[in-house]
């Protein structure tokens, strides 16, 4: 019974990781950029949701929408200002810029509103626990898991069935060839960032609802964990991010359950190292040979 409860704990923790990892993996899949600012967009999303709820007095779903839209705009701005000029630079230059953007967002938020934490109002979505065979499942974590699954399906649909999705796949395959075929590469990449950042914003609001406390540096660890989750599932693969996130959450919960709670974060990164050594393409990835 206790094991089952730990499994449930792991899945609820993991669905947050999955939600962040979805946006992460999407951006990587299309532009091959590890967007370290993703975790901070997630943080901004949490704050926008918080202010929409408390200051504008809106309900949960309108706040979620506002947060997603604002984060989408923020994502596009970041891409246009910081990443676009470096599109033909080395990968390491783009990576360092991403770290810089991440720090800029974190400390920009601290500059504007201070570093003190804020607590989400607890009465928006009833936090009832469902008792199932002695295992407690909170309604909020079910909601988060549900949101992740729905968004994953939606993303799969966008990427595989729509015109913009087709363009994304073309750009990810070969940017120059796509341009020659008349695809507007810049717009496609902007759309990718908009969708990815909107997902981060949604994850931020969900996180705030579930864990109550938000603060300007809250994006760092979940951002890194989402990165691990994305790599675990195979970076660039959408269902992989989902499974990777859930798996990582379960692994962490079981590590804590075994009495090694202080090793939890460490184990997450050991998982990252192991996967990079033994299966660098991730669980869902195929080992593709480099074209010669």
């Amino acid at each position: 019974m206790e094991f089952l409860q730990q499994l449930v704990n792991g899945v609820s923790l993991g669905s947050i990781y999955a939600l962040i990892a979805l946006g992460y993996t999407m951006v990587y899949g299309i532009v091959k950029l590890i967007n370290f600012a993703h975790g901070d967009v997630f943080m901004v999303g949490a704050f926008i949701g918080f202010y929409s709820i408390t200051i504008l007095d809106l309900g949960f779903f309108p706040s979620l929408l506002i947060s997603m839209v604002t984060c989408a705009i923020l994502g596009v701005l970041i891409e246009r200002i910081a990443y676009k000029p470096l599109r033909n630079a080395t990968r390491i230059a783009a990576l360092i810029t991403a770290i810089g953007v991440s720090l800029l967002i974190e400390y920009g938020v601290i500059y504007v509103r201070g570093a003190q934490p804020e607590a989400y109002p607890g009465d928006l979505i009833p936090a009832t626990s469902i008792d199932f065979l002695g295992v407690k499942v909170s309604s909020q974590s079910l909601m988060i898991l549900g949101t992740s699954v729905v968004l994953m399906v939606l993303l799969q649909f966008i990427v595989h069935k729509t015109k913009i999705g087709k363009a994304m796949r073309a750009v990810s395959y070969d940017m120059d060839a796509a341009r020659l075929m008349g695809i507007n590469v810049n717009n496609t990449i902007s759309a990718t960032f908009a969708i990815g950042s909107a997902l981060a914003g949604a994850a931020g609001v969900a996180f705030g609802m579930y864990y109550t406390k938000i603060e300007p540096l809250m994006g760092i660890i979940p951002g890194l964990k989402a990165f691990v989750a994305a790599v675990l599932g195979g970076i660039g693969i959408i269902p992989g991010a989902m499974v990777g996130g859930l798996l990582l959450g379960v692994i962490e919960s079981l590590v804590s359950a075994a009495g090694f709670s202080l090793w939890r974060d460490g184990v997450a990164f050991v998982v990252l190292i192991l996967i990079l050594i033994f299966r660098p393409a991730g669980l869902f990835g195929k080992n593709v040979r480099e074209k010669v």
Binding site: L13, Q116, A119, Y211, T212, S256, G259
Partner: protein, 390 residues
Amino acid sequence: MRKKKLAGIFMSFMMAAGVLAGCNSSSTSGQKDGETIKIGANLELSGGVASYGQSIEEGLKLAIEEINKEGIDGKKLELVTFDNKSDAAEATNGAIKLISQDKVSAIIGAATSTNTLAQVEIAQKNKTPLITPTGTNSTITFKDGVLNDFVFRTCFIDPFQGTVAANFASKDLKVKNAAIIIDSSSDYSKGLASSFQKSFESSGGKVVAEEAYVAKDTDFNAILTNIKAKNPEFVFLPGFYEEVGLIIKQARALGIDVPIMGGDGWDSPTLVDIAGAGSLNNTFITNHYSSGDSDPKVQDFVKAFQGKYKDKSPDAFAALGYDTAYFLADAIKRAGSGDPEKIRKALEETDGLAVVSGNLKVNENHDQVKAAVILEYKEGKQEFNTKVNP
């Protein structure tokens, strides 16, 4: 060329002014036994923990006003305040300024342990008593077997709170076994936890589970599930309000309904926002003082404070600031003068001085042997539960 000359003239003026200023301050050094006795206050009046310093200052000012109505052997106390901007280097500068320029007989401050520690060496070297109202770290007065004989405090020290909590759990709540959750990144938390465990076990209790987390964690469900499986009757949670709030919320959601207890690190309104008022029911903290204490001494203080500061309710910092002024005034009275060395001796001999936060008694480590209060959260409000004497 002319510019250089002007600068030279300016410089020599400045130097002359400096020398004159020096003369000036040395001529007032005789004031120690004059009409007033100067007391320095080196406090966090601005910066990160400004609310602590401001509360202490309010308490100090109220107490000195009261003391000066009669005076001490006909002399009045004069408070010289210095704002250390919540910064350790500024606190050091402040101690130097208060001692060498203002020639104070003693310094009160700072609010935090770090900013107090920054002044300890200067106080020791210049043989000037230093009293921190709220610095709870035990190394301030006594470290590695060496006593800082000029340094005192008005509050109790960290490990004491753990002992008080253990006594409360075993005697008042009558629980036989407990779980402990430690913030392993905080010395405060570890100190409280180990003193709790020691006292709880020596009074026949048993610690059935021990779990740890690090600051900034957000998900505690896994360790809480472990704890729930051991069915403890009580949970001791010495930590700071950000994580404590989340732990309590998640514990209640998992169905851990037993009493949960912590120390003064919980004392913040943000705790109630994070945990939610309902989850906080059946939780307790140890603290320095409660404005809800029925002791007439406390109620007189609360009334006087609200009279002076427009119905503002005094927090523990204000109470300890107020007590510190009385602690020092009592010593000055017994010393019979403003001489720092005599004050030091008198402070050391303090035994059973009744103040708002209990009875002051300085032990051989210059720590206080005094009562702690236990507060209970009821629907998000702190309510006075009991007072525990050591």
